[in-house]
Amino acid sequence: MSSPAEEARVPLPAHLYVHVPLCRSKCSYCDFFSRADDGSVSHSELVDETVALLRGWLTPKVHAVPLETLYVGGGTPTVLGTDLVRLLREIAAAIPLAPGAEVTVEANPESLTRELADALASAGVTRVSVGVQSLDDAALRWLGRCHDAAGAMDAMRVVREAGMNLACDLIAGVPGMSAEGWRAALESVVGAGAEHVSVYPLTIEDGTPLASAIERGEIAAPDEDEAAEAMRAASEVLRTGGLERYEVANYALPGRESRHNSAYWTGRPYLGIGGGAHGMLDAAQARATGLATGDFNLGRLRYAYVSELLPDAPGAPFSLVESLTSDEAAREDAMLGMRMTCGIADELAEHAGVVRALGALAADGLVLSECGRWRPTERGWLFGNEVFGRLWSDAERLTPPHPRPRIVWHSAGVSARRR
């Protein structure tokens, strides 16, 4: 039973993301925050400091609620080996897991052993997301992956055999991939028992080795039409395998949708921990943690830790703190909700002031309205930027300039690590 004092305290988010910014080596297309695991960072210290960061959020003004979802991403969390198991146990010791919680760990084939898979399962992991990316050795080399197709197949098997749910990531539109090869890869992944598949079209991010190689003319830029065709093929093959699209890039067997990722798209607060990690707090949480002060129309607050292995940069642990008014938060919910097959309810569209924008998108065949909800069409999936961009920018009442909250960059709550 909660004491009255506890009830006055603000509950923390029920979703937690933990970032492990290490990889065996960097892939050519990747601009996520991670570093090659070259031995310069002690795994056990990294775990200690990450847990200390998490505990730093547990101040007297808040109380932790049992976690509905926990997602350890990266980077490649599995490079930590047994330290990853300890990390999971210590997180659960700091904030308990709710019954039936979804606990996901990202893994790459080169660092996921049978022993580690078993250990993760016994530490409470319910779901492993394997970075397969491709099942074509030439394509994997082109992407700078440090595993081959056989290694990816092994990793998938190991996850299933350890009794955990299997999620796989695939990259669509890798140059040189034949249409048949792509369909075969999708079928193999389904055949390996994946209950969840994410299909991301290859994007060339600034500053990546791939971007420089294209700029130097060493390799050709990916063909947009091929990528579009690959995305279309993916939805077809996966549907045949029983996996339905529930988000622009995500497919799952019914009931196996990622609850953690769904929290991102439905405006539910989440904590993010570790260098480069992002979090979102509602207004009460932002105030209780001391991240925002002052009297203003705060809808939600987003933050990101500095992209350091450990956020010990003097002055501020955050590279970003951003406040959104309640209007902006509603608009964001509408935009994010339209990433999902279920779309958004009429009431949210109304509340967010995007009914007119949705009408214009419907005229272009990008969204449709049925049974009290707005949903993206097949064409809408392919032109997601058009849909999301117009919902965000063409809303009927854009927030007029207003006093922005005073943001406390260096709140007592989150600088615990340095005490």
């Binding site: 039409d225 992002h278 970003l320 032109f383 997601g384 930027n385 058009e386 961009g389």
Partner: protein
């Protein structure tokens, strides 16, 4: 044509002026000579330095300032007389300057030399002619390596027509490639100017500069005028000072001008008081009086540059001269373009900026124009292409404007079946062909100087540009002078760049206006997704319409990004489609990846995309990048 002329825009640019002014006072403090009132005309020499672009005119002027201690060495900056940044950077002179230096000559006398630096470009021919009218002689500078070039010829002819003493000066003799003998020969052969006594000089080392000044003292006649006649002074340039109003640069021909006099501008019949007269050394330095033959400035407090016109005569308000000095005319723009702010919110800023520039540049003419595709902007008339480029660059640089310029156009004369004539400055104004009797367009006499090896390429290019060959003549073994008659509209379409690239940079160009001629012209429209885009229309000779339409549609297909729908691009004359291309529909546009709940970045990307779209122009459902509007400026054939 101009709106709201009397308004004096404030703000940007003022600081710049202030700096220059402060700099000017520093120079004042170090003057070597005090000012004696009214010098004996026998001790005055008024001269100009004329040259082809890049032959070293401004550097030479700098050396003259140093040699005569007009500017202390430590205050010397390169090309001191070119005060605009653009002038310095491009090494061109846009505004005339007049600086007085005191020179101790070998004959023991101290002479007052007035050096009038003229604009060195064909766009400003009228201004050059007025500057030359203020002189008795010129130094004709010819690069010792480059030799005689097109503007050398044009400038020399202008000086001859003004009956000026011409002192040839072969410059840059320090260059390894210098060949003074060949150049001397070219001057004699090509210009029929005796050059055996040409001054050999180097603006860079200063060698020969004193010889040049000695030649000026010895050869240039001193000014002659009647000190007792009523005042007659020629305005050869003017500029606008935020605090003082219009400042006129003048040369006194007869009589004298003194502070407090009442004077009249004869062409505009404007009567005003003389607030100040002075000389430029190079900072403005007041004097009591300017007498016969003297050059200086005149401030009257007039704020409207249109009342103080280059070429006009200043005389006394009462009992003044009855006849103007010869040669005055109104300058007319030759080239027109639409200038549109890329960000529509900058429209009022663009108007303010044009108003400000016009104060210093009365030749600039503008009128509001609106385009379906580009929104609100201005139709701006220029003296020529360089003038256009310089103005656009100043608007962008000095006023922080992002501008889009449409294809330059000339003034067409459209004669209607009803008998009236319509001056057409923009393709949009072209009357319906059914109402047209004929169209005339301005023609030029074009002079091209080129080494013999490149005669072929020049002929080929000129043929493509509807040039009618007139004659050619060998100036020397290395230089051929060719003459063509060509429509101005062909010249403003990338002609000079093409000429340079086809002759490896050797060709030089000059032209003069020779009048209007009838041409078989049509208006070519570009349609995107079946809708005409007004800003992409242009007027072209019928024989070239097909080729141009094809090149342009192909180019637009490359420039216009794929959109959600297929975009047909068509070129049409009236209702007739003459070429067609298609931009395929794009198949996807989505950033599916979302890194660990980083929604902020996702939103930022969408906002960036939106910004990118804002810089595109939306015509109907089609988004057109700005380059598309530039595409018609550069059409390789």
């Amino acid at each position: 044509m101009r709106t709201n002329r009397t308004r004096i825009a404030q703000g940007r640019g003022v600081a710049n002026t202030l700096c220059k002014r402060a700099l000017g006072y520093l120079y004042c403090g170090r003057l070597r000579y005090p000012y004696a009132p009214m010098t004996d005309p026998a001790l005055i020499r008024n001269f100009s330095i004329i040259a082809h672009i890049d032959h070293g005119k401004s550097t030479l002027a700098d050396r003259v300032l140093q040699l005569t201690h007009t500017v202390a060495d430590r205050d010397m900056q390169d090309q001191l007389l070119d005060s605009m940044d653009i002038e310095r950077e491009r090494g061109i002179t846009i505004k005339a300057q007049a600086v007085r230096v005191m020179y101790d000559a070998d004959d023991g006398n101290t002479y007052q030399l007035n050096l009038i630096d003229t604009p060195g470009h064909v766009d400003f021919t009228y201004e050059v002619s007025r500057s030359l009218a203020a002189c008795e002689g010129v130094i004709l500078v010819v690069d010792a390596a480059q030799g005689v070039e097109a503007q050398t010829v044009a400038n020399a002819l202008m000086a001859m027509n003004a009956h000026l003493e011409i002192i040839p000066l072969i410059n840059k003799i320090d260059l390894p490639a210098a060949d003074p003998e060949r150049v001397r020969h070219e001057i004699e052969e090509g210009l029929a100017i005796p050059a055996d006594e040409a001054v050999l000089a180097s603006g860079k080392t200063g060698e020969g500069v004193r010889d040049a000044l000695e030649a000026v003292v010895r050869l240039v006649p001193h000014p002659v005028g009647n000190p007792d006649a009523p005042l007659k002074a020629l305005i050869f340039d003017s500029y606008f000072d935020t605090y003082r109003g219009v400042v006129a640069l003048i040369r006194v021909v007869d009589g004298h001008v003194t502070k407090g006099m009442k004077v009249r501008m004869m062409a505009t019949s404007t009567v005003t008081d003389v607030e100040e007269v002075g000389v430029r050394r190079p900072a403005n330095t007041p004097v009591d009086t300017l007498g016969v033959g003297e050059v200086g400035y005149l401030i009257t407090g007039l704020k409207d540059p249109l009342l103080v016109k280059v070429g006009d005569t200043v005389t006394l308000a009462k009992h003044g001269a009855t006849e103007q000095l010869p040669g005055y005319r109104d300058v007319k723009p030759m080239v027109y373009t639409g200038l549109f702010p890329i960000d529509g919110d900058q429209y009022p800023d663009l108007r303010d900026a044009l108003e400000r520039l016009t104060l210093n540049d009365p030749a600039l003419i503008w009128d509001p124009e609106s385009s379906h595709a580009l929104g609100f902007g201005f139709r701006v008339g220029f003296l020529g292409l360089l003038h256009m480029e310089v103005v656009k660059e100043r608007l962008e640089r000095e006023f922080s404007l992002d501008l889009l310029a449409t294809a330059p156009s000339v003034e067409y004369h459209a004669y209607l079946t009803k008998g009236e004539m319509l001056a057409v400055h923009s393709p949009q104004d072209m009357p319906d062909p059914g109402h047209l009797e004929r169209i005339e367009e301005p023609y030029l006499r074009v002079t091209i100087l080129v080494p013999p090896d490149y005669v072929g390429p020049v002929m080929e290019l000129s043929d493509q540009r509807r040039g009618a060959f007139k004659d050619m003549q060998y100036l020397s073994a290395t230089t051929v002078e060719m003459h063509y008659e060509m429509p101005l509209s062909e010249l403003i379409m990338d002609f000079f760049d093409q000429l340079k690239s086809r002759t490896k940079g050797y060709a030089s160009l000059d032209y003069e206006y020779i009048g209007y001629r009838e041409s078989n012209l049509v208006k070519l429209d570009i349609l995107l997704a079946s809708k005409p885009v007004d800003a992409l229309s242009f007027i072209v000779h019928r024989d070239k319409a097909y080729a141009r339409g094809k090149v342009l549609t192909e180019k637009l297909r490359e420039i216009i990004p794929r959109q959600m729908f297929e975009v047909p691009i068509q070129a049409a004359i009236g209702a007739k489609i003459i070429s067609r291309e298609t931009v395929k529909a794009k198949r996807k546009d989505v950033l599916a990846k979302c890194y660990g709940g980083d929604i902020t970045r996702k939103r930022k990307l969408l906002e960036k995309q939106k910004e990118g779209k804002k810089r595109m122009k939306q015509v109907g459902s089609v988004e057109i990048p700005q380059e598309a509007f530039m595409a018609i400026l550069k059409v390789d054939e």
